[in-house]
Symmetry: D2
Subunit: 297 residues, 4 copies
C-alpha cells in the first residue's frame, strides 16, 4: 500500500504526471485552480482538495507543477497556501520551470518550518510524461532526494542528480530549453537555406540526422520543420518564450551573456507579434522561411 | 586488381583518405602542391606525379581534397591543370568544402570535355577518415555516382544521395557545418551560464547529453567544452571561419538569411582577432567563458 | 513669491534639478531615502521632510526623480507614501526613467484620489540638469500639463508634448536611450574598425562628425570613444543596462522586437560581467576594442 | 580656361558630379560602358570617348565613379583600360565606394607607371552632388592631393584629409555608411516600438530629432521612416547591401568584428529576399514594422 502524495497543478504536463502516479498505486490529493481540470483524475481515484494547504499530509510529500514563478509563489505563500501546512518531515517537490533564485528562496522558507524543498525539473512532452519517460533534473538536500527517488522513477526514465543547491535543477532545465530552442533555430535556418538552393527539405533533414545529428531532438523537430507543421502545439511558442525570458533573466543575474538567447528573443517575439504565439514553438521554422521569402500554404 | 585513382590534395584530411584507399587495394597517383606531404603515401606504394594533369588516367577517376574554391580552381583550370587531361569516361570526385556555385560551374566545364564532375563532401575529423567512417554527401549525374560508389564506401560509413544538382552536396555540407557550429556555440553558452551559477561544467554537460542531446556531436564537443580544452586542433577555428563565410556567401546568393551564422561570424572573428585562430574551433567555448568574466588557466 | 514644490529623490540627477528650482525662487520640501544627500539643498533653503507623504502640500505639486519602477512604487504606495497625502488639485510629476505601464497604473491610482499624475522624462547629464537645459518629454492630462509648464521650463530648454497617454513620455524616453546606446555602439565599432586599418581614432571621429553626424550626441560621445576615456561616469553602464532592460521589457509587452536592443544587451552584460559596470556606459567602446584585439592602457 | 578632366562612370552619382564640373568651366572627356547615359553631358559640351584609356590626357586628371571593385578593376586594367595611357603627372581620383585593399593595390600599380592614385570617397545623395555639397574623404600622396583640391571643392563642401594611406578614404567611407545604416535601423525600431505603444510616428520622430538627434541624417531619414515612404529610392537597398558586405569583408581582413553590421546583414538580406531590394535602403523601416506585426498600406 503506497503513501498519499499531494499534487498541485494539473495542466498540460501535470495531468499525465499525476495519472502516472495513480496508475503506479499512489493515492493522490489533487489541487488545481481550475477545478474542471481535475475530472479524469478524480474518476481514477484521486481526492480533490479545496485549498493548496489541504494537499499536504503531515510529514508527507507534495508535488507542484505550475505555469511560472508567480503561480508557484501564490500557491505556496498565499493565506491558504501550501506552506501553511508544511512542517517536519514534509517534502515539496517543485517540478515547474521556474527561476533558480525562486527555488533558492523557496528552500529557505521551507527550512524555516523544518520542511524540505526539492527542485525536480523535467524534459519531455505530455505524451512522454504519460509514459513515465521524462528526463528529470533533481537538486536539494541529500536525504530528501533519496526519500523521493522511487516516486520520481515512476515519472522519469532518468533522474540526474544536480547537487545540493536547490536552484541547480532549474539552471539545468533553463540551459536544456535554451539549447533545444537554439537547435531548432539552426535547423530551421539550414532547411530554409537548402530549400532556397532548390533542395528538398525532407531529404536534407534526413541526411543531417543520419550523419551528424542522430538524436531524438533533431529527428522529432526535424520532421515538423521539414513539413512546416506547427499547428498542433505540444509546447506553445508563447510558453517557450516565457522560458526563454526566464533564461535571459537568470543570465542577467548570473552575469553570463547568452547571445543566441538574445537572437532567439527576437525570433520568438516577432512570431508572437505576427500572430503565431499559439503555434508550437517550432514555428521558428516558419519565421526562418518567411524571412527567406519562402511562402508555404 | 583494383583500378588506379588520381588523388590531388593530401593535407590534414586528404592524407588519411588516400591512405585508406591504398589499404583497400587501389593504386594511387598522388599530387600535392607541397611535395613533402606525399612521403608516407609513397612509402605505401602511391606514385607521385608532377602536375595535376598527370593524376588522371584516360577514363579514370580523380579525387580532389583541397583547402578552398581557389585551390580547386587552380588545380583544375591552370595550364597543367586537371581539366587538360580529362575526357570521355573520366570522373572527378570533388570532396573539398567549397561553394555550390563553384561545383555547378565545374560540372559545366567538365561536361564540355565529356567528363563527369561529382561533389562528394564529407563530415568527420582526420581520425574518422582514417577509419573509413566519414559521413559523405554525394551529388551529380546518376551513372557517375553509381560508378564511384564502391570507392566512396571505402571512405565513408554512410553515403547520402543529394540528387543530380552538382552543387547539392556542397549545400548540405555547408548546412551541416553551420548546424555544428551553432550547436557548439549554444552548448558553450549553456556551460558558461551553468558555471556562473556555480554548477560543475562536466556534470551539466553529461546531464544534457544523457537527457536530450544524446548524439556524438554533443558528446564529443561537450567533453572539450567542459574541460575548456582547445589546444589540440582537429578542425582549426580559422578554417571553420572559412567554411562559415562560405555558408554566409551562399546564403547571400540564395537570399536565405541565417541569423545564427551572422552571430557566429562575430564570435569566430573576435576569437581570431584575439589570437585564437589556430585553436580548435570549439574555442568558441573560451569566447563564451571570457565574455561571462570566467577566466580559466 | 513662488509656490512650494515637493521633491522626492535627490540623487545624481535629482539634486541639480532641485537646486535649479531653488535658484529659480521655488520653495522646496525635499525627501530622500538617504538623508545625507540633502545637505547642500538644505543649506540653500530647502526644507527636509521625514516621510514621502510630507512632501506634498494640499493641492500642490510634487516631483519624483527616482532610480527605478520599484523605488517609485515604494515612495508612492508605502504606508507613509506620497499617495496618502494627495487629493484634488495635487499634481505628481514623475521624472524617473520607468516603464510606461507603471506610469499608466500610477495615473489610475492618482485619479482615484482625484489627483493628477504626469510623466515628464528627461534627456541630459547632471551638468545639463544644473544649467536647466534638459530635454523633457511630457505626457498626461492637458490641464495638469499646462499648470506645470513654467516649472518644467526652469529645468529644460525644450518640453515636448507627447499627448494624453500618461505612459507616452516614458515610451519616448526609452526610445531615446535605446537610440543613444545604438549610436554609441555603432560609433565604437566604426572606430575599432578604423584603428585596425591603422587610421587615427580622433581624426576619423572628427571627420564622421563633420560630414554626417554633426550633432552633440555624436560629438560628445565621439570624444570619449576616440580617447577611450570611460572612467568618469556621468551615466554608469549598469544604470544604462537597467534602462535597456526596461526598453526590452516594454518591447515584449508591446510585441515590438528590437534587434539592436538585443545586441546591446549582450554588449552591456558582457562588460558588466568583466567588471566595467561602474564605468560610463560609453565603455561600450572598450568592449568593441577588446573584441577586435586592441589593447589600450 | 580650365583644364580637361577625364570622367569615367556617369551613373546615378557620376552624372550630376560631371555636370557640376562642366558648369564650373572644366572640359570633360567622358566614358561610360552604356553610352546612352552620356547624352545630357554631351549636350553640355563634354566629349565622349570610346575607351577608358582615351579619357586621360597626358599628365592630366581622371576621375572614376563606378559601381564596385570589379568595375573599377575592369576599367583600369583591361586591354583598353585607363592604366594603359597613364604616366608621369597623371592623377587618377577614384571616387567609388570600394574596398581599401583595392585602393592600396591600385596605388601600387599606378606608381609603377609613375602616375598617382587618390581615393576620394563621397557622402551624399545625387541631388547633393548636383549642388556640389558632397562630403569628401581624401587619401593618398600629399602633392597629388594638393593638385586636385580645387576640383574636389567644386564637388564637395568639405574635403577631409584622411592621410597618405591610399585606402584610408575608403575605410572612412565604409565606416560612415555603416553608421548611417545603424542609425536608420535604430530609428526604425524605435518608431515601430512607439507605434505599438500607440504613439504617433511623426510626433515621436520630431521629438527625438529636436532633443538628441538634431542633424540632417536623422531628420531626413526620420521623415521617410515616419511616413513609411521607401518607394523613391535615392540609395537602393541592394546597393546599400553591397556596401555593407564590403564593410564586413574589410572587417574580416582587418580582424575587427562589427556586430551591428552582422545584424544589418540579416535585416537587409531579409528585405531583399522578400522583394524590397529596389526600394530605398530606408525600407529597413518596413522590415522593423512588419516584424512587429504592423501593416501599412
Amino acid at each position: 500500500m503506497k503513501e498519499t502524495i499531494g499534487f498541485i497543478g494539473t495542466g498540460n504536463m501535470g495531468s499525465p504526471m499525476a495519472m502516472r502516479l495513480l496508475k503506479a498505486g499512489y493515492k493522490l490529493k489533487v489541487y488545481n485552480r481550475t477545478k474542471s481540470k481535475l475530472g479524469t483524475l478524480i474518476e481514477r481515484g484521486a481526492e480533490a482538495v479545496e485549498r493548496p494547504a489541504d494537499a499536504a499530509e503531515p510529514g508527507g510529500i507534495v508535488i507542484t507543477m505550475l505555469a511560472d514563478d508567480a503561480a508557484l509563489r501564490e500557491v505556496t505563500f498565499e493565506a491558504d497556501g501550501l506552506l501553511k501546512s508544511l512542517g517536519p518531515g514534509n517534502v515539496h517537490i517543485s517540478m515547474s520551470t521556474i527561476s533558480p533564485d525562486t527555488s533558492r528562496e523557496m528552500a529557505v522558507k521551507h527550512h524555516e518550518v523544518s520542511a524540505d524543498y526539492l527542485a525536480a525539473t523535467v524534459s519531455g512532452r505530455p505524451e512522454v510524461a504519460a509514459e513515465g519517460k521524462l528526463g528529470i533534473y533533481l537538486s536539494g538536500e541529500k536525504a530528501a532526494k533519496e526519500r523521493v527517488m522511487a516516486i520520481l522513477h515512476e515519472l522519469g526514465r532518468n533522474v540526474a542528480n544536480c547537487g545540493e543547491d536547490p536552484g541547480a535543477a532549474n539552471v539545468v532545465k533553463l540551459a536544456a530549453n535554451f539549447m533545444l530552442f537554439s537547435a531548432v533555430e539552426a535547423f530551421a535556418e539550414a532547411l530554409a537555406f537548402a530549400e532556397k538552393q532548390k533542395l528538398d527539405r525532407t531529404s536534407v533533414m534526413n541526411m543531417l540526422c543520419d550523419n551528424l545529428f542522430d538524436c531524438p531532438v533533431y529527428r522529432n523537430y526535424g520532421k515538423l520543420l521539414a513539413a512546416q507543421d506547427y499547428e498542433r502545439p505540444a509546447f506553445k511558442l508563447k510558453l517557450a518564450f516565457k522560458d526563454l525570458k526566464l533564461a535571459i533573466q537568470t543570465s542577467e543575474s548570473a552575469e553570463a551573456p547568452m547571445r543566441l538567447a538574445e537572437s532567439l528573443h527576437n525570433r520568438m517575439l516577432s512570431l508572437i507579434a505576427t500572430g503565431k504565439g499559439d503555434c508550437d514553438f517550432s514555428a521558428i521554422g516558419r519565421g526562418a522561411a518567411e524571412e527567406a521569402g519562402l511562402v508555404h500554404s
